[in-house]
């Protein structure tokens, strides 16, 4: 394959920017042309080749010239005579590009082809004759030279195979032949087409979207074409009796595959495309999984199509937790985020993971203060295990978890001491109300804020309520490892005497047993036990009318959209209340609500729809879409942190971003995830995609041990609109608007690189578009 490779490198762009002046279109730009070697020169492996260009910029200054080959920088020239010396180490055809950059980083590039032959291939000495029968490429060549030969069958015939000296077996009609040291005849054997026969197709059930299949039969050759329902497929390999094909179909239902040698067509074989009797469409299944999972994989989407939304939810609810943080390195301070991103791609308990992650962003603890994985792992495992239980259960488990006790200072909190002049610590009392239950403002049942006559939001609690609740939250210590059943009173989290894997333990001498007047007219009588005191207070918070809408709205924001209508919030809050806070009922209400499902066919966009994929969703999502592999030793921990979301290491209890963050320029729309999306982070996200999808010779993209295989898409690049359709279904659930598809088709058609390069261009453009980044 004579692929033209495009070197990739960092350049700055000239783009008009609103608001801060426009870039002058009269800006200087450089030009560059090659001096030596000439285009299509042949050189020998191991020889020294001088690469020289003549860059110029009237009125400007050339700063440097970068020479590159197939994505690798060969060298840089920083002054005239603008040349480097290159020693090629492998034979082949290469495109060498020179990029001239001026002092303002404007660039111009030019490329030439160089053939690298065997060591000692020179450009002088004896040449030998190559005769190509039934084809092009005849001529005189040096030994070792690479010659492009291609078959030209006589009229009425098709190409079958090549024969001649040193011809690689099963060479296609056009290939590159290495000239031996002697006169040679190559013959393109052609034949009147034989009618092929088709005996089997495997699999007979083809998935919707991109698929691969193997056909068996007779009479196959280099020119054999396969088609599905009249649409040609791409043949990726062949023998006389087998064909490997790949293609794309978005239309479910029965179809026929047949093969042809020119006009001679085989018998058809019936196949089923997509799920037979699907309960939901391919688009709906994929969009649902953006909300209920870390995005669709092709197989998970087919499964949802086959069994429908409710049955899939039931499967997920009854699936015990697969994801297990116990395997992350407990003795360390990092590594959990790589595990998180691996689990998100790989593990089947997708909904549980999504819900647990949402809960971890409401009931926030952070390695910033916990410091060691050993303290965070039990906490995240608790949320994972509790994800489908009840809100009240979660509130209780969170409150008594050692991680939360340490994080928000409830541990070792004590009643007021006149002798020491101290009062109980207020931190957990405040945050359990502000963030974990009622929220700071009184809410209506639909989550809208109650306002007084002056239009000011009514507070849900005041300073007195905080202090009274602080009195309840006294007398809890870490459980003692050395004396189980008793607290290690006063011990720090890191103390060897502390068991950080079990709930905190009561310590009566430090408790305030007086009566307390909490918010919402909850009165706690004097002299309850420590546990009764706590449970009464937590019941009070769970039953407060604010809690159902406050929690429901945030869960909707994490799973579905940043700006749910008050009616949507109200319906989910009602399910919360009527079920007693059962998270299965709440999650079902969120995901099956008409507002969540309205846009499944992609024709019902509302201006306020959508939510920006946070980094922890964006990365697993794009890997899953391609059925990629993301092992636990992946390298993405760095990237999610650079993008602003250091998983489990939030800067404060207010999470990575606030649920009430308003996006500038949208007329007041909420966009919590936008709080991370600084202008710089937006560029970093694009760059991550570019780095990941930058292998132009190997169709398997890799980033450390993470891989995404683009092979199935490569044959589709021959028809840009088919490629765009395939990537639309893969990435944007098949509902991309036509004008956007047109932009992509033009970009693919205008991409002069290899088919693989075209696929990466299309994938890069979709993955970096905000149409993709904002799930809607």
């Amino acid at each position: 394959m004579n692929a033209k490779s495009i070197a990739w490198f960092a350049i700055t762009l000239v783009l008009p920017v609103a608001g801060y002046g426009s870039d002058s279109t009269a800006m200087m730009s450089p030009t560059v042309s090659w001096v030596q070697p000439a285009n299509n020169t042949t050189v020998g492996v191991g020889s020294q080749v001088v690469l020289q260009v003549a860059p110029a910029e009237p009125g400007g200054t050339i700063a440097q010239v970068l020479f590159s080959m197939s994505g690798r920088i060969l060298g840089t020239a920083r002054s005239a005579p603008w040349q480097i010396t290159w020693t090629p180490t492998a034979q082949g055809n290469y495109s060498i590009a020179a990029l001239a950059l001026d002092s303002a980083n404007q660039g111009a590039s030019a490329a030439i082809n160089i053939t690298v032959g065997p060591a000692g291939v020179s450009t002088s000495g004896p040449k030998y004759n190559l005769t190509v029968v039934n084809g092009l490429g005849s001529g005189s060549y040096y030994p070792g030279a690479s010659v492009n030969v291609s078959a030209v069958p006589p009229a009425g015939q098709i190409f079958q195979s090549w024969s001649g000296t040193s011809v690689p077996a099963l060479s296609p009609a056009s290939f590159t032949y290495t000239m031996p040291a002697g006169d040679t005849v190559l013959t393109a054997n052609c034949m009147i087409p034989v009618t092929p026969t088709l005996s089997s197709v495997a699999p007979l059930q083809l998935p919707t979207g991109v698929f691969s299949a193997t056909l068996t039969g007779t009479g196959f050759g280099a020119s054999t074409v396969a088609s599905l329902g009249g649409t040609p497929l791409a043949v990726t390999a062949f023998t006389p009796t087998t064909l490997s094909v790949s293609g794309f179909s978005s239309v479910s239902g029965p179809a026929k595959i047949s093969v042809a040698n020119g006009p001679a067509v085989s018998n058809p074989i019936a196949v089923q495309v997509g799920v037979a009797n699907p309960l939901v469409s391919p688009s709906a299944a994929r969009r649902f999984l953006e909300q209920a999972a870390f995005g669709p994989t092709p197989s998970e989407a087919a499964h949802v199509q086959a069994i429908g939304f409710q049955a899939w939810l039931n499967e997920q609810f009854s699936m015990p937790a697969v994801t297990n943080y116990a395997v992350a390195n407990p003795a360390g301070q990092s590594g959990m985020s790589a595990y998180f991103l691996s689990n998100a791609v790989t593990n089947p308990d997708q909904l549980r993971q999504r819900v647990a992650f949402a809960l971890s962003q409401i009931f926030v603890t952070s390695l910033m203060k916990l410091n060691w994985n050993a303290y965070m792992i039990p906490y995240q495992q608790m949320l994972m295990n509790d994800a489908f239980t009840s809100y009240r259960r979660i509130l209780g488990d969170v409150t008594l978890s050692p991680a939360m006790g340490w994080y928000l200072d409830m541990v070792n909190n004590a009643a007021a001491s006149p002798a020491n002049g101290t009062a109980p610590n207020e931190n957990y009392a405040r945050e359990v109300m502000q963030l974990f239950s009622v929220g700071p403002k009184m809410l209506n049942a639909d989550g809208t804020v109650q306002k007084d006559a002056a239009g000011v939001a009514v507070p849900a609690y005041n300073q007195s309520h905080v202090r009274e609740l602080a009195r309840v939250l006294t007398g809890w210590g870490f459980a003692s490892k050395t004396s189980p059943g008793t607290p290690a009173w006063g011990a720090l989290l890191v103390s060897a005497s502390v068991d950080a894997t079990v709930p905190m333990s009561p310590y009566p001498p430090a408790h305030d047993y007086g009566p307390k007047a909490l918010l919402g007219s909850c009165q706690i009588p004097a002299n309850l036990t420590i546990s009764q005191d706590l449970n009464t207070a937590l019941d009070c918070l769970a039953n407060h009318p604010n809690t159902a809408p406050f929690l429901s709205k945030q869960l909707i924001q994490h799973l579905v959209k940043s700006n749910p209508s008050p009616a949507y919030v109200g319906r989910v809050a009602a399910a919360f209340t009527q079920s007693g806070g059962d998270l299965k009922a709440v999650v079902t209400a969120i995901l099956l609500d008409q507002e969540a499902r309205a846009n499944d066919a992609g024709n019902a966009d509302q201006a306020a729809d959508g939510h920006l994929q946070e980094p922890a969703l964006f990365l697993p999502g794009l890997i899953r879409a391609f059925a990629g592999i993301n092992p636990t030793n992946n390298n993405f921990a760095y990237n999610v942190t650079a993008l602003g979301e250091d998983i489990f290491n939030a800067a404060s209890v207010f999470n990575y971003f606030s649920p009430s963050y308003v996006v500038s320029g949208t007329g007041g729309l909420l966009g919590p995830e936008f709080q991370l999306d600084t202008a710089n982070a937006a560029v970093l996200r694009e760059n991550l995609v570019a780095t990941f999808f930058s292998s132009y010779s190997n169709p398997v993209m890799s980033y450390g041990p993470t891989t995404v295989d683009l092979s199935p898409f490569v044959p589709l690049a021959a028809t840009p609109s088919t490629l765009v359709d395939a990537l639309d279904l893969t990435l944007t659930h098949g509902t991309m608007p036509a004008p956007m598809k047109q932009i992509l088709v033009s970009a693919v058609a205008g991409d002069t690189g290899s088919a693989l390069h075209q696929v990466e261009t299309c994938a890069y453009l979709i993955l970096t578009s905000n149409y993709y980044n904002v799930w809607h």
Binding site: A18, R430, P459, L669, A682, T768
Partner: protein, 443 residues
Amino acid sequence: MISRRHFMKTAGALGALGAMGGLEAQAANGYQALVCIFLAGGNDGHNTVVPITTSLQNFSLYAKSRQGLALQQSTLLPVQSGNDVYGLHQQMPEIQAMYNAGNAAILANVGTLIAPTTRAQYLANPDTNMPVQLFNHADQSSQWQSAVSDGNATGGWGGLVEDNLASYNSGAAFSPITSTGGCGIFCVGQNTFPATIPVAGASTLIGANTPGRLNAVQQLMQFDNGLKLVNAANAYLNRGIGFSKAFNAALASANVNTPFPSTVLGQQLQTVAKVMSIRNALGIRRQIFFCQLGGFDTHGQQFGNQDVLLKQLSQAVYQFYLATQELGTDTSTVTFTASEFGRTLQPNAIAGTDHAWGNHHFIFGTPAAKGGPLKGGQMYGTFPLLALSGPDDADSHGTLIPTTAVSQYASTLAQWFGLPVASVPSIFKYSGNFATSNLGFLA
């Protein structure tokens, strides 16, 4: 890390360097900069500036209210305002030196207020004419950054002031506000959006490396399919690409030799100095910077946690001042601290403090005697009585009611920065409620 010996040598030289910097500033073309250092979490001002012997109170009252959390008097670093002697936390020797040289001023007991408030008023009507959601991190941060305390802020005072002064920055290809650390509403105006420059530098777009891809990226960025969040994300990306181009092109000429500590704040202020050094290439004459240092929410174990942070603040601020002398911007740059609230005088059961209200803050710059704007070496505002349940306490825990408003603090900075007096009420809505909108610490 900067050794103490090094700073001791240079502290004496502050005066001479200041004079040189002044001459350079006069030659400069009207540049001014404000640098906000936000102490996130709520710094405990009570252990930052401690009365020793003052006309209002002595150290003993502080010690009695603070009990186990009181600092030892012998460890405090003395500073004087008139005849009153205060002590700074022992981890702030650089700031003490700056104060004594006139390069720092203290603003006492400042906090969010809508109108002057007394204990009696607060106890009688805690919800009338009071900032909403007092003691709540998110709301108080937003109120400090916007100078609006009714919950309806539409922009930060930094962004709105830059909107007003846009003519100074016309033609700039870069935002006039640079944030090195998580700027909230402070940096956002009607037409002003911050450039967030992480310490590693602005990122340049890679991957759109052919004309076809580049063109398609641009087309996709402009494609409007009707979703506002998609359009907003496109605007962010567009700004990011534009900022990085302007910034990276100018950064080639950035050169700041002054060393900075490799701490969170030190690195941010070093980035500020680098961006400041290319201000001419960026085309900015009124420039605002926002830095943030977290960890001040010392609900427990305050000793040990706060010390480390105050040391970091003191060292970084000092090195930054030296950098402005190197850049010739020392007489045109004013640096100031802010924080969402102060903390309770009374300690809690785990040797920490809880959310409170009024707090003490610092302003840094070149003193008037050396050609700068700062009337340093003194304390402004009214220092509160450090008595639990005393006349300045909103309750019994030492939640002290501010005697100066954020609105007044910010409008003083803004007016020096160039905001016309006539524009003050439109941004600082409560300016009519207080005796003055200019506290007078800047000439």
